[in-house]
């Protein structure tokens, strides 16, 4: 052990907080963002900060399976899914689409309320957890709620899918932060689920477009029985 190790460990613990905050800010930025292309960039960044946070937790708690899950997250959320999404928006030709949505400042204000709510909810729970990054539970919860909010206020299908994926990021982070990760099998299963989900949603979106000539999900309202 080197003499500076305790100091480095403190810094690393603090850096988990930093990455968590990054996750939250990115979730917030997604709410404020109109362009689909930028949304994908933001999502990629979010994945990257998630990988970084997982690696730090893995190093600090010395749990090897977290390294694997960080690797899986990297492959999936920083490489594979963004590529898929890029190809998707190219094929759908919505790369430069600017989406009109519900008044952005109002959405962000609701976002702040959600953040306060989530922080408050997590404070007592965090006290129970013994994990090194227990303060971040509130942040993870807030990111999940923000992504949920994003799915609600978006009018197009692709941003909704991104919202869904970013929600999964938040959940994954909550699992890492609060319980030092889920069992490997569960994680693999979720990863596989997300991948398959993307593929299915992609196919689904093509179908929506074929049917309605647009990706606006308001068209789906016509599908109900009269």
């Amino acid at each position: 052990m080197f003499f500076w190790e305790p100091e480095v460990n403190t810094l690393l613990t603090q850096s988990i907080n930093l990455f968590a905050t990054g996750l939250l800010v990115l979730a917030f930025a997604m709410i404020a963002q109109r362009r689909i292309l930028t949304l994908i960039h933001l999502f990629t960044l979010q994945g990257a900060s998630l990988v970084a946070a997982t690696l730090v937790v893995a190093y600090l708690t010395d749990q090897h399976h977290l390294y694997y899950s960080a690797a899986i997250t990297f492959v999936l959320k920083v490489v594979l899914i963004p590529i898929l999404l890029h190809r998707l928006i190219d094929r759908l030709n919505v790369r430069w689409d600017v989406e009109t949505l519900f008044n952005i400042p109002t959405t962000m204000l609701i976002g702040i309320v959600l953040v306060i709510f989530a922080f408050n909810l997590a404070t007592p729970i965090a006290g129970l957890s013994a994990s090194i990054a227990r303060g971040t539970l509130g942040i993870a919860l807030a990111s999940v709620l923000l992504s949920f909010l994003m799915m609600i206020v978006r009018a197009k299908a692709v941003p909704q899918v991104i919202g869904f994926l970013s929600m999964e990021n938040g959940l994954f982070f909550a699992a890492t932060a609060a319980t030092s990760g889920m069992p490997m099998l569960v994680e693999l299963g979720i990863a596989f689920d997300v991948l398959v989900g993307i593929l299915i949603l992609g196919v689904f979106m093509f179908q929506i477009r074929e049917q309605f000539d647009s990706l606006d999900i308001r068209h789906l309202e016509k599908l109900k029985e009269e």
Binding site: N17, L18, T21, A32, I139
Partner: protein
């Protein structure tokens, strides 16, 4: 009484700010020109422009009231005081207790109100338009700036800028997530407050989208020179405050007058890097529509609020 070292560092700071502020503007302009594949106007161009303007006679509109003529001086005085209380080189500043972060924001507001009133004074359409837009930016940027400074205040338990920097610079290195978020918000605010792309373009005149240039359209001669100088001082002060809050290393503390010798080159190096980054931001972004600006600033404001909330949650 004020110790000599404090007096010296205070004086040195003011002189440094007054002297080097136009240089920073010139440096940013030069970097931007390089990045945009243009030939640059030379590093000392702002000084030449100031000298030229001071030599010219001032043309004042017949319908102007005295407010129009005193506003440039007041704006300049405000910016000089801002530079005096911002810890650029040292935190040992005798003037620092006179104005804390809240008063600092108040100083910016005072300057803004006077320049806006002066713009409305003549009664031309452009002037009032500029005043309205300036106040629009101001009313969102001010609270955002205040919240950014507050998140630093909460960490250091002080609202005095010198004390904040003193605490941040001279303690074991620690990562503050709240400060990181606040830093993003601060960048947004600084871009808007200093009339930079993507909010405003300092290089254009007479476009329907201009803000800062519309305000000062009626000014000429020495009045214009003072306003330009004050704008340079504002950019300098904002850069220094940002550097001091988020990268405080190298600033001399109280009782270490010799550290000032190191502080000057460190500050210049940091400013040079900051200038390059500013030019980079200005080059890769496009100017946004005017009615996107409130959204941009509202984002900054809410980010700053999140920074405060993160501080309350994590205690850091």
């Amino acid at each position: 009484m004020i110790p000599l070292s404090g007096f010296v560092s205070q004086l040195l700071e003011i002189i440094l700010a007054l002297a080097f502020a136009p240089l920073l503007t010139g440096w940013v302009n030069q970097c931007r020109a390089w990045l945009q594949n243009r030939s640059a106007p030379g590093l000392l161009q702002p000084y030449r422009a100031l000298h030229k303007l001071f030599n010219k006679e001032s043309v004042v509109a017949e319908s102007a009231s005295p407010i129009f003529r005193i506003a440039p001086y007041i704006v300049f005085g405000c910016m000089a005081l801002v530079c005096a209380i911002a810890p650029t080189l040292s935190t040992d500043l005798p003037l620092a207790p006179a104005a804390d972060t809240i008063a600092l924001v108040g100083l910016f507001a005072l300057a803004r109100v006077f320049i806006s009133l002066a713009a409305m004074d003549i009664g031309t359409s452009f002037g009032t338009l500029g005043a309205r837009r300036e106040m629009l930016i101001g009313f969102l940027a001010e609270p955002a700036l205040l919240m950014v400074l507050f998140s630093a205040s909460l960490i250091t338990q002080s609202t005095s800028l010198a004390n904040i920097v003193e605490t941040l610079a001279h303690q074991p290195f620690a990562i503050y997530p709240s400060l990181a978020v606040a830093g993003v918000a601060f960048t947004f605010v600084a871009l808007a407050e200093n009339a930079r792309v993507p909010v405003d373009n300092p290089a254009t005149h007479l476009e329907l989208t201009m803000i800062h240039e519309a305000l000062i359209l009626e000014y000429s001669g020495r009045h214009l020179a003072l306003i330009e100088w004050a704008a340079a001082l504002k950019l300098f002060a904002y850069s220094c405050i940002g550097l001091a809050l988020f990268f405080p290393w190298g600033i001399a503390g109280a009782g270490t007058p010799l550290a000032m010798i190191v502080a000057i080159p460190v500050l210049l190096a940091k400013l040079a890097i900051g200038g390059v980054l500013l030019a980079l931001i200005e080059t890769i972004n496009a100017k946004m529509r005017l009615f996107r600006v409130p959204e941009f600033l509202a984002t900054a404001f809410l980010l700053a609020v999140i920074a405060l909330l993160v501080h309350v949650l994590l205690g850091a």
